[in-house]
């Protein structure tokens, strides 16, 4: 039976402390935006959730490559875990974006290139989970998962750069001053500090959740192996 590693408990405590601190910064440190008002405070965790989604899909693609090279199924567990977490955070990103859009764009949803590519990305990875379940042989399933994670990752840079490549109403946050950036998003120093801290906090949340999810995956693998052994 697995016992919880001490370092995971330490990481849990750090994660919760950082989340409390980041929430405090959003509500009590960052100023209220002059035009949009309170809803702009969604921005800090909206972007951070999108960042975690993309980071998770990158981790899954890298795990896919490593699995194909080494053939060790632990990399399949890492890839699956990262994709599941990525789906959760990309979902938060899309829904909070929609909530933010309602008072600012006067609509819950518009088929803008950034919103569309983000939704397509989410659906691609949701399909990954569904398709995986249809494959019984663990090695075949892992090979399929690895290839899918690598090909599916193409949707991530497409989503990230869509606000630069296409005409869109979605503002560009990272690299807003680059040529080709369609929107503008000027932050005060306090806003920028809160934003960077939120990104850091969500990265740690991702690491913590990934560790937990990998442990669940390892347990599921043990159960599956025992079941297969008993059937044979």
């Amino acid at each position: 039976m697995q016992t919880k590693p001490r370092w995971l408990t330490v990481l849990d405590i750090i994660t919760i402390s950082l989340l409390i601190a980041a929430t405090g910064m959003v509500f009590f440190y960052a100023p209220t935006e002059a035009v949009m008002g309170q809803v702009q405070k969604v921005f800090y965790f909206h972007v951070a959730a999108g960042w975690v989604g993309m980071l998770a899909f990158l981790v899954a693609a890298i795990s896919g490559v490593v699995y194909l090279v080494k053939g060790n199924r632990k990399w399949d567990i890492v890839g699956l875990s990262a994709i599941e977490i990525g789906i959760v955070f990309a979902f938060i990103n899309i829904v909070t974006g929609s909530i933010w859009a309602r008072p600012i764009w006067n609509t819950w949803w518009t088929w803008d290139p950034r919103l569309t590519t983000a939704t397509v990305m989410e659906l691609i990875y949701a399909a990954y989970l569904m398709l995986r379940q249809g494959i019984e042989d663990p090695d075949r399933r892992a090979r399929f998962g690895a290839v899918y994670a690598i090909i599916g990752f193409l949707s991530v840079p497409l989503t990230f750069f869509s606000a630069r490549l296409f005409r869109t109403i979605h503002p560009v946050v990272i690299g807003a001053n680059e040529a080709g950036a369609q929107g503008q998003f000027d932050m005060t120093p306090l806003m920028l500090q809160t934003f960077m801290f939120s990104l850091f906090t969500f990265s740690i949340i991702f690491a913590d959740l990934l560790w937990h999810r990998i442990r669940v995956g390892q347990l599921a693998e043990k159960v599956e192996q025992l079941r297969l052994k008993m059937v044979d």
Binding site: M1, T32, E33, A34, V35, M36, G37, Q38, V39, Q40, K41, V42, F45, H46, A49, I85, V88, F91, I92, V95, T96, I99, W100, R102, P103, I104, I205, L209, H212, R213, R215, V216, L219, A220, K222, V223, L226, R227, K229, M230
Partner: protein, 54 residues
């Protein structure tokens, strides 16, 4: 419309809704991980018992 206003728009309800989604979804995922882990542990115990008996 926003360009003519003196004070920030009153968008508090949307902010609250946004944060309910953020913390709600994260909490649900955390609970889902805990429940799955607990169920898998129970499955493992049952399977190990069966293996010992057979």
């Amino acid at each position: 419309m926003f360009f003519l206003q003196d004070a920030p728009a009153n968008t508090l309800n949307y902010m609250i809704a946004g944060y309910i989604v953020i913390f709600g979804v994260m909490l649900l995922y955390w609970i889902s991980l805990s429940v799955r882990r607990r169920n898998l542990k129970q499955d493992l115990e049952i399977l190990e018992d069966l293996e010992k008996k057979s």
